[in-house]
């Protein structure tokens, strides 16, 4: 069953059409990698799923509830309920610089979920253990490397116990030698069957962890299929061209 359904999603910034009739489904427990050239609308598409962008048309349905139906958004409280089931990881981490790692993880559970201190501490420790940063609990983000920051950001999103995780170019701001540690955490989540949508430029990673690849170009989904289909026998000329350039 589809956990996310996107139908004819349209989005424009002024006269620039960023998304033109984008449609796709995501199944529960599926790992989707979204690839495509810069400016193809990948990030906008992802951000629209959590209502960081408002679309101008089309529908988005998450777990059978409409976030937006034919361009009309649901009520504020419904939007909040729907988006709360999704966690998001940003390219630039967006950690709270004035809070320690532990406090970054605890802020939303404490104030949004009203969890007790003990719960927050326990969950936080477990997730920091999972991303290998338990020893950094009391450190401020300013003292972490990029890879460590991104792992904290992933743990922070997981604190809200999301059903779906969205990654917006999680390794694009990292030095090449630091991407591995972040990708390893994402891969671990994939092995645990977390439903994930990952916008990425890491082709080999996409090939390795994704169940399905979506190739976007010029605001459209050009092609989607298994990594084998997309990387080894792309049907569309545009996909071939892009992959030739990207994997050269």
């Amino acid at each position: 069953m589809a956990i996310i359904e996107v139908m004819q999603m349209k989005k424009s910034f002024g006269s620039l059409d960023v998304l033109k009739d984008v449609s796709f489904d995501i199944q529960k427990n599926e790992v989707i990698a979204v690839i495509g050239p810069s400016g193809s609308g990948k990030s906008t598409m992802l951000r629209s799923l959590v209502h960081l962008e408002e679309v101008n048309g089309g529908s988005i349905k998450v777990q059978d509830q409409y976030l937006v139906k034919d361009g009309a958004y649901s009520s504020q409280s419904q939007i909040k309920a729907i988006t709360s089931r999704m966690g998001m990881v940003f390219q630039h981490f967006n950690l709270f610089p004035h809070l320690t790692v532990q406090e970054n993880l605890g802020l939303a559970p404490k104030y949004v979920k009203k969890q007790t201190k003990e719960e927050v501490r326990k969950n936080g420790a477990a997730l920091l253990q999972k991303v290998g940063l338990l020893d950094k609990a009391d450190v401020y983000p300013g003292n972490l490397s990029g890879g460590q920051k991104q792992r904290v950001a992933i743990a922070r999103a997981l604190m809200m116990n999301p059903d779906i995780m969205l990654f917006d170019e999680p390794t694009s701001a990292l030095d090449p030698e630091l991407t591995g540690e972040v990708l390893a955490v994402i891969k671990q989540l994939a092995e645990e069957h977390m439903t994930m949508v990952i916008v990425t430029h890491e082709m080999s990673f996409a090939k390795e962890v994704a169940d399905r690849i979506i190739f976007m170009d010029n605001g459209q989904v050009v092609e989607s299929g298994t990594p084998d289909q997309i990387f080894n026998q792309p049907k569309m000329e545009r996909t071939r061209e892009f992959l030739n350039r990207a994997t050269r």
Partner: protein, 219 residues
């Protein structure tokens, strides 16, 4: 120049410094919250509020503090009809002028602090489900405060020195007693003593704000 003389003139000057310090605290404690209120008004979606705040900041930043102080001391009482009810104690009038004037500067300092905050902070807060109030109080304001700290420090040091403007409305403060002694004793020494007292006051502020900056370094 004997030590006795310095102690002799130092006593009234330190008493004058109390007025200086009193004005400083009244002005800073009133103008920081007031300034922050204007920052919020400037950013408000309610247009008339934003217009009012912008006009306020323009007027109070765009005219001399001395003019504003003279206006509150001597201008208000000569207004037709209502003037009789607006005769303020000169020190009170000065406090009013200082607080209103510095509020305009603090409003701009805090606005700058808000502008420095990356939009990713708002986005991360939203995605984590924090509401607007939580985002403002838990994420944005602490960072704004940190960004604004050096400018607030700078402004508070300026305020210490601006208190000398009280001289113009004849409220006896530090500079007043120094100048009196210079005239009376035909010596320049009291000016040096006054300078040292101002320096001591700004030193305390400098140390205090350096401490705050270190405390909120987040490293």
């Amino acid at each position: 120049m004997s030590m006795d003389y310095i102690i002799q003139i130092g006593k009234p000057m330190l008493e004058g410094a109390q007025t200086t310090i009193l004005l400083f605290f009244i002005a800073i404690l009133a103008s920081i919250p007031l300034g922050f209120m204007f920052t919020l008004m400037v950013r408000s979606a309610i247009k008339p509020l934003a217009w009012f705040a912008n006009a306020y900041i323009y007027v109070f930043r765009g005219t001399p503090l001395l003019l504003q102080m003279l206006f509150f001391c001597f201008g208000l009482p000569v207004l037709p009809v209502i003037g009789d009810y607006l005769v303020l104690d000169r020190f009170v009038a000065a406090c009013l002028a200082f607080a209103l004037n510095y509020a305009a500067y603090f409003a701009e300092i805090f606005r700058g602090g808000l502008l420095a905050i990356d939009k990713g902070q708002y986005e991360a807060s939203k995605v984590l489900g924090l509401n607007r109030f939580q985002t403002t109080t838990k994420v944005i304001l602490p960072q704004m405060f940190r960004v604004a700290l050096p400018a607030v420090s700078n402004e508070s040091i300026t305020l210490v020195k601006d208190t000398a403007l009280l001289y113009a409305v004849a409220v006896p403060e530090l500079l007043h007693f120094a100048y009196t002694a210079v005239n009376r004793d035909a010596t320049i020494m009291p000016f040096f003593v006054a300078g040292v007292i101002y320096l001591l006051m700004t030193l305390v502020l400098t140390v205090f704000f350096k401490f705050l900056e270190r405390r909120f370094k987040y490293e």
